[in-house]
Amino acid sequence: MGDSTRSHNSLVAIRGLSFARGDKKIFQDVSLYIERGKITAIMGPSGTGKTTLLKIIGGQLAPAKGSVMVDGKNVQRLRRAELFNLRKRIGMLFQSGALLTDMSVYDNVAFPLREHTRLPESMIRSLVLMKLQAVGLRGARSLMPNELSGGMARRVALARAIALDPMMIMYDEPFTGQDPISKGVLVHLIKSLNVTLGLTTIIVSHDVVETAHIADYIYVISDGKIIGEGTPEEIKHSTSPWVQQFMEGSADGPVHFHYPAKEFQNDLLATGKRY
């Protein structure tokens, strides 16, 4: 698949993106495209700014250079009201779930509906129950967020994220810290929502197996650059040793086991210093 066709059919197009936090460069000249109706995964080790990327797409952070187009609109150029209108059409699932802790499951899912629509309470009820049914938690509607397990909290957050029937949904590390069953449930949910609702999906993750299982296209990011991209099959057979190490999960390789330090022997002999 050529780059031109991807950019042509993309819902999100990021071109020449650079972003820095203080002196630390998070992204350098990154370009990537998220295709409509497909599941695109952005993978890479922890601390490579994957969450930052989602925040840039959502317009919460502004890049230093480059452009971010979502559905043909330049996110950074939008006025506040326009940006909010765009966000209504984007669902985002935070790593922690980000449920509002002072409301029940039901009220959490109803929250975006009540904020953005003037629907009667009876219709909100039907919608909320539908969304909760989709994630299999219709029976847990009266629980408070602190009574939920991590996996359930994420599913409630997912129901909330799709409450307004968005065109796109972004998952921030959906599998992290989940037991195998929860992982399986989430994998199944992400895939089925993508298929049944035709949702464009972005997954940011470092869980190789689950992500590769459902993704249509994968970008691998490290040190602020894209070092590999392609379908899961292509990525698996990538010639880049770095991508190989990441996909295999080997302890040593291009990414060294040791944090950069001076020679071990010299360090031991340097007495008289506290560190």
Partner: protein, 259 residues
């Protein structure tokens, strides 16, 4: 040199924080209209900010009034002026202790709770999540709490002072035998509505404003970790106390300085 560098850094930090705080206040006030549209948001916050502070305010008011009654009686009886006990209790309460002590208690009870709540919402990405749901967290979360704090304060002060005056009367004429009629008439003859009551009321509004602002801003400006939240909560109480006492001095000088 290190000292001056440190001082300069601190000063710069203080000023940028003040700047952020001012913008924060500006956006908070900009959201006022949303309360008019949805009074329920305000009502819920009046409960957690106002109603839940009632008990501590009422009990403290009662004891402060009773102590004033006792202390005042012992001092005044030395001069044979027990009859002016009512005046002394009411003047201290209405002018100073009512607004100041209520505001300090309010900062400890409601202010710290607000900071912790907002700080935790930030730490658990709830504010960020709201933003991504196209809901302005300042309008939805901050403004109702701010207005609730601002409105609750004068009500709490009214409660505090009124209960204090009654507490003073309870001790003064109930236990120590000051004439009840003299207690009230001395008070009424010398407490001025505009000079004392209205000025005390203005103080309470100012304190309500400043404590709510500090508490919410500290919460919103928290470093989103558990340590950050705990530091922010402490800062709320300390900064509120400083601001209350400092402003009280300035307001007193402005209000009661002329006569």
């Amino acid at each position: 040199m290190d000292f001056f560098q440190h001082l300069g850094k601190e000063t710069r930090g203080g000023f940028t924080k003040l700047g952020r705080g001012t913008f924060f206040l500006f956006y908070t006030l900009k959201g006022l209209f949303s309360i008019v549209v949805r009074p329920r948001l305000l009502l819920n916050q009046m409960y957690s900010v106002g109603v839940l502070s009632c008990l501590i305010i009422a009990i403290s008011g009662l004891f402060v009034g009773m102590v004033l009654g006792l202390q005042g009686y012992y001092i005044l009886s030395d001069f044979g002026a027990e009859e002016t006990l009512g005046l002394m209790v009411a003047a201290s309460l209405v002018r100073e202790l009512g607004p100041v002590v209520s505001a300090l208690l309010f900062a400890g009870r409601a202010g710290s709770a607000l900071t912790a709540e907002i700080g935790l919402m930030k730490a658990t990405e709830q504010l960020s999540g709201m933003e991504m749901m196209a809901v302005d967290p300042i309008k939805r979360i901050i403004t109702p709490r701010f207005v609730a704090g601002f409105l609750s304060m004068p009500l709490l002060v009214g409660l505090f002072s009124a209960i204090g005056v009654l507490g003073g009367q309870m001790v003064g004429s109930g236990m120590l035998g000051v004439d009840e009629g003299a207690y009230w008439s001395q008070m009424q003859a010398n407490i001025d509505f505009y000079d004392d009551i209205v000025n005390g009321f203005i103080k309470s509004l100012v304190f309500g404003f400043i404590v709510s602002w500090i508490a919410l801003f500290e919460g919103y400006d928290t470093v989103p970790t558990s340590e950050g939240v705990s530091r922010a909560t402490t800062r709320t109480v300390v900064n509120s106390a400083f601001s209350i006492l400092g402003l009280d001095f300035i307001l007193t000088a402005l209000m009661f300085g002329d006569d």
